[in-house]
Amino acid sequence: MTVDGIHEYLTRSAARTPDAIAIDELDGRTLTYGELDRLTDRLADALRHAGVVRGDRVGFCLPKSADAIAAIYGILKAGAAYVPVDPSAPASRSAIILRDCTVRALLVDQAHLDALTAELESTGPLPEIFLLPTVGGGAGLREAIDARGPAPETPPPAERVTPEDIAYILYTSGSTGRPKGVTLTHENGISFTDWCSEIFAPTGADRFSLFPPLQFDMSTSDLFLSIKHGARIVPIDDRTGKDPFTLGKVIEEHGLTMWFSVPSVLSLMAQHGRLERYDLSSLRFVLFAGEVFPVTHLRRLRDLLPAVRMFNLYGPTETNVCTFYEIPDHVPEERTEPYPIGRACSHARSRVIGPDGAEVEPGAEGELCIDGAGVMSGYWNLAERTAEVFLEADGQDWYRTGDVVREEEGELVFLGRRDRMVKRRGYRIELGELEAALYRHPSFSELAVLAASDDAGTRILAVYGTENGEPISLVELKAFAAEALPLYMVPDRFVHVETLPRTSTGKTDYQRLKELV
């Protein structure tokens, strides 16, 4: 490995090219490598001064910005692990996450402070709060550090992290109704970054869009690969990211060379982005992951960007990217099936197993298992759940992805899921978590959530019965769901039924329900 701690990429690049721009925000505010390195050193000192020690967790609830990126590097420099929470999610959900991994400190902006601290206060003492009065350009973070008081003459000494230390905990939807924390080490992140270097060979001239939300594992390549190579990060804020009409212009104006996002965004850009109006010749790579890319939209994107190299990357948060497939220059008209997820990256190994846990014959259907330096150490505080998802074989622990695949001509093809997890806009959603949250509505007597996918993406359907047998207003139901859940989890449709179909043992009969609606 090239470094022991993933934040050392920053220290090294800053020593090499202190005046190069590291972060270029859409509104024109920038931070150089030298500035980013000093700001993150200051944050690390302030965190240590506030009691943060190696191995602690530090949370943040910040919009995507130079400040948030600096928060990540500062937390890592302090020897702690960063825990991002989704600023657009309900504060109640964020508080559950921050309590679950007992963060020692929390960086939060003014907009989220009150709701989040109120939720946290109801369940125990508050962590050390670093309040950012504004966000953007790193100025808010500087103020937050200043407000903590002058740095001591001799800050507590920095302890060196080792590759086995936890670098970040990313929470994903949990089937029991509570999000679960995927615990990833420095080694996990470094091995993935090194693999990216091998395949994409970036240079200091590259400009990375930071498109994915920071609580999403896809963000780590933009965060660490760019800095490792002294390149520039252009954070795409959430508002701009939801606007496909603007993204072509952003690529042109900022000369973006690397783009990594979920396919649903690229589909929208291909359909409605008017990409032909913009000069997109700076783009070298378009990478996508997180869900299946419908071929009709991929073909259109391929035609619009003929010179760009495109890759389908695959990997759950637990492994980060572990297989890859390069999309050919031309997507044939007659092709309807999605492209394969490909073969294992150099830092990973794949194995396809049958229901008995034994490897299947090549070409047979089975569950994909992954081993290698990118695989998580486990779920935070969930030893039993962790044990369930690992399979021991050949003296190694293999992560069972839950994804059903088949090998065709040496490439893995994704066929579906073993369980009730779905992907929507690249976000993982456990239908069980959705049911648990929606069940809090006082009028529901019974409820089941279903998902269906087509070229337009995954649609979520909630089927419910009520005590009084009357349907509830959709506007009311959607508003209720939007308050209880992140917006990407709000069902597309609610369907009222008198009673849900049941199996002989009294469980919801999802098969019959699917046929019914």
């Binding site: 508002r239 939801k242 009409f245 959709l474 508003a479 917006l487």
Partner: protein, 87 residues
């Protein structure tokens, strides 16, 4: 409600709230923050506005402030139409 608002309401009801009692969707019902439409639905809505009212939505127009209620959408459409006539 004026003609533009009625047309938008009809589209939102038909597309995103099938079967809903029309009276529950008022000019001030929050569409995005109320979970009725998500970012991808918003694109459908914009494409509808463009086709129905002969306007063109530019980069950076598709802001939450312009899209969150039928009232705001109505204001947005009239501003766009006016700009189109003046231009």
């Amino acid at each position: 409600m004026n003609n533009v608002m009625e047309k938008i309401r009809e589209f939102v009801l038909g597309e995103f709230l099938p079967g809903e009692n029309p009276a529950t969707l008022t000019p001030t019902t929050p569409l995005i923050s109320g979970g009725i439409i998500d970012s991808i639905d918003a694109v459908k809505l914009i494409v509808f506005l463009e086709n129905e009212f002969g306007i063109e939505v530019e980069a950076f127009d598709a802001d939450l402030d312009n899209l969150d209620t039928i009232e705001a959408l109505d204001r947005f459409v009239s501003a766009k139409r006016q700009a189109g006539e003046n231009g």
